[in-house]
Amino acid sequence: MNAEKTTPATKGPLVYRQSIWTRLTHWSWVICLFFLLFSGLQIFNAHPTLYIGQQSGFEFDNAILDIRAVNTPEGPRGQTTVFGQTFDTTGVLGMSGSAVRPDFVAFPGAVTIPSFRDLATGRVVHFFFGWIFVGTMFVWFVASVLNGHIERDIIPKKGDWRGLPGDIWNHLRFRIHHGRRYSPLQKLTYFMVFVVLFPAVILTGLCMSPGMNAGFPWLLDLFGGRQTARTIHFIAMALLVLFFVVHVIMVIVSGPLNNLRSMITGRYRTSPDTPIQEKDKP
């Protein structure tokens, strides 16, 4: 029979990896980002063009992205223009729904809250979860400074930079080492998400507010104007979606049950070669 299967050496120690604060804020963010994304796309649909600068060019061109429906000799088509390059996106962007009853919206109803055109409701949902998102960020930051999570797992150190190329190579081959702590690539990724993307998405969001513009005009200057801030808000969203996709792929590739357990109970099964410490449970 398979003797080695039963040897304890095939399993590394079960370690306590995620604090209660990391787990609670993680799931709060899952919910917030879900609603923020889909209500945000509803808001975007009200004026599906992104510009650079303080204002939207109606009599001049400072647009970098535009999603719309246009009339062609073959009937209406969905079109997306990025940096002057126009693509036919019929069925997805600009025009969606069935051939008999097309829907002329930038993002289709499948990815907006609510599924039909209703800017007012999109805004109600967006601002509610915006507050929860910021509150979660605050709780996470305070807890993570106090329990050392930021210092230990988020800020890349000298050794992390040295280990980064090898870690990227391992990730590309889906060869994941389950250590006690985050790997260099994980640290760098979470650093980008927590220290760059989350603050950027919140601050550019605040730039949308004429009230905040009056109180904190330097915020507008920081992001290069109201419409640039709106564009950066959108780009930050797209990068967070990219992060989400890669994050879920990595969770699946590196052991979905083990990862889910660590985000629910905090306990994580490490690789067999991980040295056992006193507090570890089998």
Partner: protein
């Protein structure tokens, strides 16, 4: 090992299938949030009250909205919403070149006051180049000239207990079977007394055109476009908004938008 990778691939494929399935159902389960008065929606709407209180606490009452230079006026002011009112009263005034127009301040004031366009134009004015931000997401920079509302409120004498200004307009923003709905919105007294809050009669050094709200439109620069009522004729001081329109303080507010509007 290869067997394991194959399983992982299957998992990825399975995951994508689940994802695609979710995308098909879409966000329909959350459509109930669009129902006005739904209890969960009302909880979510309370976040707007929090925003209002937070901004009032954070931002000084007199702090000005950013102003821009002449060179940043790169286009005409984009007209939006009502651009061509069709009520008989407005058409009459328009044909008479707004000669009979009066702006009235009434309600909880010591004395009701009313001004002709010529009187408004002869008062001290303020000119400001500001950015108009539409709730839809676009922005447009323009130069506005008008009389500060605060000075007129002082002339009328705001009574103790008055908390809001309700702005009544000529334009029929919506035509229904039971008649036209005329535009109205409201603000607190902080916004009404703000130095940049003007009764604008001039736009980009010209007389305010009809498409942008002639003869007079209000500018509340620290708020979105729907708080800049066009075709304004009466300002009513009240202590409570519940009896105005559907009770949310304005036409768009009754249609689900936030009342404060400064986001």
């Amino acid at each position: 090992m290869s067997k394991l990778i194959l399983n992982r691939r299957k998992l990825i494929l399975g995951g994508s299938a689940v994802g695609a399935g979710l995308a098909m159902t879409g966000c329909k389960p959350f459509d109930f949030l669009a129902r006005r008065g739904d209890p969960i929606r009302e909880v979510m709407e309370s976040a707007n009250v929090l925003t209002y209180r937070a901004q009032r606490a954070l931002i000084g009452e007199q702090v000005l909205s950013p102003e821009y230079s002449e060179s940043e006026i790169r286009q005409g002011m984009k007209p939006n919403g009502s651009t061509e009112p069709t009520t008989a009263e407005y058409n009459f005034l328009r044909m008479a070149n707004f000669e009979p127009y009066r702006l009235t301040i009434k309600g909880m004031v010591e004395r009701e006051v009313s001004y002709s366009l010529a009187e408004l134009r002869n008062m001290p004015s303020r000119t400001q180049i500001t950015r108009h931000d539409c709730v839809e997401g676009w922005s447009c920079i323009a130069k506005w000239t008008g009389t500060q509302l605060g000075a007129l409120l002082d002339e009328a004498g705001v009574k103790d207990g008055a908390r809001y200004c309700v702005y009544h307009c000529f334009d029929n923003i919506q035509r229904t079977l039971s008649g036209d709905i005329l535009y109205y919105t409201s603000s607190d007294l902080v916004d009404a007394y703000h130095p940049q809050t003007i009764l604008a009669y001039g736009l980009n050094d010209e007389t305010l055109p009809v498409s942008n709200g002639a003869p007079v439109r209000l500018r509340i620069e620290r708020a979105l476009g729907y708080k800049q009522p066009k075709y304004l004729h009466t300002i009513e001081l009240v202590d409570d908004l519940s009896k105005i329109g559907l009770g949310k303080g304005g036409y768009w507010e009754d249609n689900g938008y936030d009342w404060y509007g400064g986001i």
